[in-house]
Amino acid sequence: MDKSRCDQLLDYYNGHLEGEDKQNFEKHLQECEACLSEWTEWQMLTSDLPYLSEEKEPPAGMKDRVLAAVFADQEENQPKAAPIRNMADKENKPVKEASKPWISGLLAAALTLSLAGNAYLFLEKNKQEAALEKTAETFKTITLAPHQSKSSGVASMVKDNGNMKLIVQTHNLNPVKGKEAYQVWLIEGDKKYRAGTFTPDGKGNGAVVFDVNYEGTHNWEAVAVSHEPTAASKEPKGNIVLLSEL
């Protein structure tokens, strides 16, 4: 056992150890009784310190925003939304159907998401996507027409292992400020179903995959993308920036 590691306890406590150093220290923590008992002591010694904080009133509307984000991809009768960043930059692979070039990477991501079962973990851990697109088939790909905007986009309905997914890729969207977000809607008659939420990158590019798992049968007529004041809108409140019939 390497006793010199005992000096790293504080840096480990504050998350300053990375990679191999971190692993080595965690191993050390299991072997070194002195460190283990000291670790417990540090936790005990610091456990009251948060109560030194001055009371601050949370900002107006914080509860609604936080809960909306927490439940965002678990809405009942709402599809799961999983923003995928940087997908557009990934290498494109050929797809059997003549579809837009970026679809391949997104499909792979969609499948990985369904395999991982947890989009949040996927984003956090930044796992590599598996190239599984051969099991999915594209039903329909449409170009999203700009609606009083200079934005552009493409949407695809894809069936993956029996599950319908909606893939949306956008370009040139205006940047979002504060709590603003873009939302994707599926339209059937005069009903609008929220498919999910995303925020584009600095260049206005966004790439998202949503599960389409509403109860009952639906005859989707159109896809719309709107710029919303918050991610919590249950009905489109902001401007529709992209719209196309399916």
């Binding site: 998350g15 300053h16 009251d48 904080s53 601050k56 009133e57 809960l67 973990l121």
Partner: protein, 189 residues
Amino acid sequence: MGTISDFELYERIQKDDREALELLYERYEKLLYSFAFKILQQKELSEDAVQEVFIKIWRNKRTYSKEKGKFSSWMLTVTRNACIDLLRKRSKTETELSDENLQIPASENVEKTVEWREEREQLQSAISTLSEEQKKMVELFYFKGESQQKISESCGVPLGTVKGRIRLALQHLRKKYNEGRDKYGQEPM
């Protein structure tokens, strides 16, 4: 504090009970937000940190167990980690952000919010018995999440003594705090 314990709420959350998460949120919103603000000194980031904590609780089930100590302490640790993470990301991208904006009173909560004024006052009086150097070291270590190297540099003390000095300060603080609590017969939260 309420009739439902934190742990019972946590158990209900394991079964995807949204109401339980909402109750837990209402109970701890102010404490977690205030703690996040103490570290981050900025409204939006503090809200982001609290949001991250509840996303973790909701989506990564079964991360807490009773062996990890009190549920509230565990949540505060998760909050601190989220804040320090944000603090580090922020210091890489931006130089300084600070606001002390007007406080807008939040809507009246159904669930009773955790309050900690007396704990804070007793902790502050315990802190006042520390030397200036000790105060600074505790601040840099706990509320800024700095490395031993940086603390050693900013306080001008040898690297090898940083851990021992902070530990001594915290032990002293705890002793004073406990004395104060005994005097007023208060229960820790």
